[in-house]
Symmetry: C2
Subunit: 583 residues, 2 copies
């Protein structure tokens, strides 16, 4: 057996356990892992030099496919460059297997290069951290490696999915000699059976009773992937039981006649009587984080008497509205489908619900607020302006997104503008955003990763700070041609001008916005992207005609917007919301 | 007292404890810290959007001045972006004070944005990690904050210097109102007196006896900052006692008639009889890591009977040559100066040393090897070639560096080529390189940071992968005009072609070198640098005439070299070394 055979076998184990894609950053200590996956006939390996981008790309791949993606890097600070994406993967529940090469531990603090404390380096931001042995002579060491990889890969997928770290100390020599053949031995895979959490009949009975007692029920949808089946059951529940379904763009709740999506607008400075008229008796939440502060504040200030949160695992109490009464171990879709079926059967047995009118009246109050909010937003966007603004641009873009395509929203303002605009249900757009930690650091890389794993068009809306921050996403590996980047370049961290606190400080420009004067022309040219600059709404309209068409290279549409016009538009919007509330 | 007064006071405490410079990355949660330092009349605040670059810039500033530099960032993955530089600062012993804004801890896992496990997030890569209280109503909380900052700042400087983390949870509201005045209260600083470790007379006596018993003594200098006083005492010791002084470019051991700097060449494949003739009886080491493997391998394979390592703190046993017998708590300069004085006095009392001839014979053997190595390197570089190579370029550049200027060497090949060339003692060049962890990730930012803190010229030699990896160093803050970047662009991670293992693999180009096709023209233009491309030795010669002259903007000289020519030159060199060894 060649010395490093157990390391070579890891590649076979990845394959056997269903991993198909690996992102590798070059390194010498990591060479045995790199060669093992690169030579494996069934693994698709992509190489990116910047580990920070590499790991965000892997995150985008994992989010797109919901399959585990492997990440390989060399020892030393390379490992720490994975950390921003690891924290997003942990809170954003993306399955990543992090294979970090290491020097054998006896070399720590012996002034050897690229040697840091890698064991457990990601702290609580991985589901578990393993450390493989550096010596393989004893058979138990090889058993340990095989068993550990089995467990680690399984663990990435167990709900909630997330990153798992396997540290791999490697002794020299780690390059095979010219004579050495490279064979993948048969490996032992351990199947871990899947199971769904199932509530007892008693529990269901109790929950249904509670449901029946509420005439004012709201289902609030936090961040979730696009799921037509979930949307269908939410629609049925809403139509037939009068329950209010509300959500945001990051929860993939689209605009239609039934879902409440304008909460950020109409809950801003809502009057107390109005708030009371909207206050739920029973609140059901599914999904992860909510985007807008106005919704969170409302649900905290006007808490439901009963609050159920539905999530597959219940080891952590997520009480983000400070009103949780019941944590229900279930997948949202399964729970809601059974809930609908039970309610339907109940109605079949008992006939129409006496409280149905009250329920629909409650629903109508929410719907009316949502329609008023739509009117306010439309008024804001209809105001005549010669200047291209971020918000107007985002609205125009979202209206023209190709059906069935994928939309990535970078953090800071793009995701907020997009949520204020919403996407139409009929377009069936799948929306994705790094809302686990909500950093700007890897939004471009994440979109690149998603585009690598689909033939669909992936459109990224991104601001200038996030774009330049993460431009290494476009370096050192071909950019997939189905990627469309729309860069809202207002030459600053524009959010600081929009939110209330920093915009009042004399330090706004120097210490918060940090204007840089960059355009993306050079970055696009270096990366081989088709570059389209645009400075007016008309030009945008014209550019969008071709922009989404298939092409041989990815495209970057750079919108130069004016920060003052952006601010003015947003202030006019806030003023009109305020005027409406105090009518 | 305004609610956040204890946070405002931190700025005053930084000032009182001698901190002058802060690097800030924009954020909202961190706004109270940002405003506190930005409004302080005696703190110089610089803003950089990318936290990874920001922290490496701070590292460069701290290494240049040996003073503590503050780093401020917002909560969430922003903090993890500091981590690569933090690990380099820890192993490279640079004093950094990391002030990370955080949400109050009760919001962890409550689906709030930018909320991760920040307490202790840098693990063992900071000297200590503190967590401030989020509430300041109790006076003990304010006492805790004041005392903690006193301790944290002191700790950054205590030997070995390094990064210290202070996590700062902050409640809203964190922006002052328009009416709120902003005053710095008087703060209490706690002086921590400095002391030097001092050996007892007994210990000195014992060490001097051991010294006298060795006729074959080597002082090997690991990485250390440039220090003329240290060079002076090393020269005196060498001249008067026949001790061999050897070192590398990262230890700031320059080329002269006495110091041994070509070990990487002449220890490569040394014959056994030669090795025995060079084997020390007593080895003294000072400084941190050594660069070249050949030196490390030699000292492990031919260990000294006695090995003293001199470092100010002795809580860790650094036994990197696996032969350590004596760890001596002392600063290298103080120890060597006392050693020389004692030896001198002993000689005054006892007359000339009987073994002096033997000692100088041993020294001559090393000197002769060094001269032979010089001849071999010169022969390699003299070989006629039409093609510009990295090595020839580096030699030409080092020969023309302005006296008293600062040289930064990026990791991977530039530092190795520069070590093969060396710098002449008479030029008094101060050499710096990120050899704590030896990553390529922040070399450009580190040089930017150094240039910010000096009026001297700072020249950075860097390869293309390291340059593009870290190009955000040039974004979002003005690049200091005294910076000169010389980019060795061979369109790949060239080291993989030079070292033995990967160059033999069919995966060399795809999975290790990762060619990208970038030139730095666009990057330089975006950043407002003067850009000078260069493709021949003659053109380089011509360009260097003006390149080092003062200018209004930083300059980037991009050398396009051929990877095959680089490899051929290196292989020719290795062949000539081998031919010499087997003569």
């Amino acid at each position: 057996m060649p010395v490093l055979q157990p390391i070579v076998n890891i590649a076979e184990l990845l394959h056997q356990k269903g991993i198909t894609d690996i992102v590798v950053s070059p390194g010498s200590r990591s060479a045995p892992l790199t060669l093992a996956v690169a030579r494996h006939p069934h693994l698709h390996v992509r190489v990116m030099a910047d580990e920070r981008s590499a790991c965000f790309v892997a995150l985008g791949m994992a989010l797109q496919t919901r399959r585990t993606v492997g990440v390989i890097c060399t020892s030393g600070s390379a490992v720490y460059n994975l950390a921003p994406a690891v924290s997003e993967a942990f809170f954003g529940q993306a399955p990543l297997l992090l294979l970090t090469a290491d020097r054998p531990h006896e070399w720590l603090h012996q002034q050897d290069g690229q040697t840091i404390h890698q064991v457990g380096i990601f702290g609580e931001h991985v589901k578990r951290s393993y450390d493989l042995p550096a010596d393989y002579t004893h058979p138990d060491a090889r058993w340990f490696i095989e068993r550990t990889l089995n467990e680690a890969i399984t663990l990435t997928q167990l709900s909630p999915a997330g990153p798992v770290h396997v540290n791999v100390p490697l002794r020299e020599p780690f390059y095979p000699t010219n004579e050495e053949t490279f064979t993948y031995e048969s490996v032992r895979t351990i199947e871990v059976c899947a199971a769904q959490p199932t509530l007892t009949a008693d529990t269901w009975h109790r929950l249904l009773t509670e449901w029946d007692q509420s005439e004012r029920t709201v289902i609030a949808v936090g961040q979730l992937p696009y799921d037509p089946a979930l949307l269908a059951v939410l629609r049925k529940l809403s139509e037939e039981t009068g329950v209010v379904v509300l959500g945001e763009i990051v929860g993939n709740i689209p605009r239609n006649d039934l879902f409440i999506t304008r909460t950020d607008t109409f809950l801003a400075g809502i009057t107390e009587p109005e708030a009371h008229s909207l206050q739920p008796e029973l609140l059901l939440t599914i999904g992860n984080s909510f985007l807008t502060r106005n919704l969170k504040t409302f649900l905290r200030q006007y808490p439901a008497r009963r609050h159920w949160h539905i999530q597959p695992t219940v080891d952590r109490i997520n009480d983000s509205f400070q009103s949780l009464t019941t944590l229900i171990p279930a997948t949202p879709l399964a729970f809601l489908e059974k809930l609908f079926a039970d309610l339907d059967y109940q109605r079949f047995l008992q006939g129409d619900d006496d409280d149905e009118d009250d329920r629909h009246a409650f629903q109508n109050q929410w719907l009316q607020m949502d329609r008023e909010a739509t009117r306010l937003v439309e008024k804001t966007l209809a105001a005549p302006t010669d200047t291209l603004t971020d918000w107007s641009a985002v609205r125009r873009i979202l209206d023209q997104l190709p059906a069935l395509s994928i939309l990535h929203l970078a953090n800071s303002m793009p995701v907020r503008y997009a949520n204020l605009c919403g996407v139409d249900e009929r377009r069936q757009i799948s929306v994705s955003s790094n809302r686990g930690v909500s950093g700007i650091d890897g939004c471009l890389s994440t979109a690149v990763g998603a585009a690598l794993m689909t033939d669909k068009l992936v459109t990224l809306l991104i601001g200038d700070v996030a774009f330049f921050y993460d431009r290494n996403a476009l370096w050192s590996a071909p950019v997939p041609s189905n990627l469309r980047i729309i860069l809202l370049n207002n030459d600053s961290g524009h959010i600081f001008r929009i939110i209330d606190g920093p915009s009042r400080q004399p330090e706004l420009e120097t210490y918060f916005e940090t204007p840089h004067g960059y355009t993306a022309r050079n970055t696009a040219q270096d990366a081989g992207l088709t570059y389209l600059p645009c400075e007016s709404l008309d030009a945008l309209e014209e550019a969008l005609g071709d922009f989404f068409k298939p092409a041989d290279a990815a495209k970057l549409l750079e919108l130069k917007t004016n920060k003052q016009a952006n601010q003015d538009q947003f202030l006019a919007y806030k003023a009109s919301v305020k005027a409406y509330q105090s009518r």
